[in-house]
């Protein structure tokens, strides 16, 4: 039985974690993710979970402790944002290369500087090559649902990779909105017990974790990680199918909104997708053929599926809430354009940088993007493909 409630995105993720009852949760606070361990600490104090909650002195340590616990055979996780993630950098690669299905509740926030506490995706986008699975949410409901599905994906024997469950700092983490929660027992049953095949605390099978890899082996180790990544999409879809049967809420690798006959499309990640949906409804009411693809799974990147979804589109705007200083756009833009190129797409594509440091995204802003795409189709030329939305020049 679903339970209707109203919760902030941080509360929603904390409740999912209570229902999952992981074994080990090392934590160090940083805005705007602090509330997740804060709520969770009260669940620990109230005896609602039997998780080992470890307060550490830095994010470097919280991820290290999560890795150590996971290697020992314990289901573990931590939460962080922004510079906290940056401080975990070294450990991110270690979790991935050791094939440890650690979970990270990431609340997206701009990296310094200038110092800023608000939302953009520069933190997780910077970590996109670390070997972690990355899943993004539009709202509190999706953040909750993604957290519930996280371990099923990460721990799958064909995957065994760490997973980052991302949501937009403040915009969803601190906004109270309606949500439907699953019953504790349902979540417990869905997630199941963690039964690692190889783990340090198994006396039957002594093993080393994280030893030196000589040149003769290093490349094969990395290739094995890539092999795990190849299985992620399929597992994500299988888990989503089971989750839909349980919750009635359907998830894919990405969401297609009004794409059936769309001539103009936006590709976007996170909370601004909801705002874009309102813009689409307004424009559709005026007969405009506009649609949107909202990325859920960003790593691994569902390139061919996205190219297929965009195959009939005349113009597309790819929206990046992070810079990558290539002088030609952001990370999502690069991935989508590569996908379009390989699919021999003839769509005219532009890449916008938007919403940095929490810059607000309004329905009108997204309407203007669709208007620009209309002009591009008329001109038959995208001209400058690297653009900024809502910038004061």
């Amino acid at each position: 039985m679903a339970k209707r409630d109203r919760l902030s995105g941080n509360e929603a993720v904390a409740i999912a974690l209570r229902q999952i009852n992981p074994d080990v949760f090392p934590a160090f606070p940083i805005t705007p993710s602090t509330e997740i361990p804060q709520y969770f600490a009260s669940f620990v104090a109230n005896g609602q979970v039997d998780t080992e909650f470890i307060t550490v002195e830095s994010e470097h340590s919280s991820m290290s402790a999560a890795i150590g616990a996971e290697a020992a055979g314990a289901r573990s996780l931590t939460a962080t944002s922004s510079c906290g993630l940056a401080y975990m950098w070294e450990e991110l690669y270690i979790a991935a290369s050791n094939r440890l299905p650690v979970a990270l509740a990431l609340v997206n926030r701009a990296l310094s500087g200038p110092i800023n506490i608000n939302c953009d995706h520069s933190d997780s986008m910077g970590a996109r090559d670390s070997g972690w699975i990355q899943i993004y949410a539009e709202n509190n409901q999706e953040a909750y649902d993604n957290m519930v599905q996280a371990y099923r994906i990460a721990e799958h024997k064909d995957v065994r990779l760490p997973i980052m469950i991302c949501q937009d700092g403040f915009i969803t983490s601190h906004a109270v909105e309606n949500i439907e929660l699953l019953e504790d027992e349902e979540v417990k049953k869905f997630v199941g017990e963690y039964e690692p095949e190889n783990y340090l605390l198994n006396p039957e099978c002594p093993m080393a974790v994280g030893p030196y890899s000589i040149t003769d082996y290093y490349m094969e180790a990395k290739r094995n990680q890539a092999e795990g990544m190849k299985h992620v999409s399929g597992v994500v879809l299988d888990v989503a199918k089971e989750f839909a049967a349980l919750s009635g809420r359907e998830y894919g690798l990405f969401e297609e909104y009004c794409m059936e006959d769309a001539q103009r499309a936006v590709v976007i990640i996170g909370s601004a997708a909801g705002t874009t949906k309102d813009a689409i409804d307004k424009l559709r009411a005026q007969g405009e053929k506009v649609g949107m693809i909202k990325i859920r799974l960003f790593r691994p990147f569902p390139a061919s599926e996205i190219a297929e979804a965009l195959k009939d589109v005349k113009a597309v705007a790819i929206m990046d809430r992070a810079e990558s200083y290539t002088n030609q756009g952001g990370p999502l833009g690069a991935d989508v354009m590569a996908a379009l190129f390989r699919a021999r797409s003839e769509a005219l594509a532009v890449n916008y940088i938007y919403g940095l440091g929490g810059r607000d995204v309004r329905v009108e802003d997204m309407e203007a993007v669709y208007e620009t795409l209309k002009q591009i189709i008329e001109d038959g030329d995208a001209e400058e493909t690297y653009r900024y939305m809502g910038i004061r020049e």
């Binding site: 109203r6 705007p32 506490i117 608000n118 109270v176 909105e177 309606n178 995204v361 329905v363």
Partner: protein
């Protein structure tokens, strides 16, 4: 009430504008509405101007931007009338609610020509008489519920009582004062 209401709160850090917005989302949720309650965050500290927002709707809310053209504005601290453009985008068929000890006539000249309805409440008086301390957000919450016609007053009081009983389970002595503040505010707003 129309099926989609947008409210903007202007306060100063520490006055509870954010809490009031979250409480309003909470109580509107209990009447079956879709709700959003969220603050706009910056380098907040005690006394700095802050903004918080509510959307209350019969339909699912997907937009995640701030509110630029609200139906209602609540001013928790009247000193903000001089430093912040509180009526910016405020709809003419909406209303502004100002916490002040002054009369409505004295406030209107400070509203930059706003042509809609103006309501005032002396939240200081209500708060001191009922709770013995200055917590402007409780009286303002009741006042905006009345001004915006968000729900039936009886239902509001009943839901708030349940909410306070849950929130203040460890200090039940404050429940009475808070309830009295709500009841008095419903009468005092003008």
């Amino acid at each position: 009430m129309s099926n989609h209401t947008e409210i903007r709160w202007h306060g100063r850090g520490g006055q509870g504008a954010k809490t009031a917005a979250l409480l309003l989302a909470d109580v509107a949720f209990k009447t079956g509405k879709y709700v959003q309650g969220f603050p706009e965050y910056g380098p907040e500290r005690m006394g700095a101007p802050i903004t918080a927002y509510n959307r209350i709707s019969d339909e699912q809310i997907r937009v995640h931007s701030n509110i630029y053209d609200p139906q209602y504005v609540v001013v928790v601290d009247e000193s903000l009338l001089e430093s912040v453009n509180v009526t910016s985008g405020l709809k003419k068929d909406g209303a502004i609610l100002v916490n002040t000890q002054r009369s409505k006539e004295e406030i209107i000249p400070h509203l930059k020509g706003y042509e809609g309805k103006v309501y005032t409440i002396d939240a200081y008086k209500v708060s001191m008489e009922t709770m013995g301390k200055y917590f402007p957000n409780t009286p303002l919450l009741a006042a905006i519920v009345k001004v915006a016609g968000i729900m039936d007053e009886e239902v509001f009081l009943k839901e708030m009582k349940a909410s306070f009983e849950h929130k203040f389970a460890s200090k039940p002595e404050v429940i009475d004062g808070n309830m009295k503040a709500l009841e008095m505010a419903l009468k005092e707003v003008r």
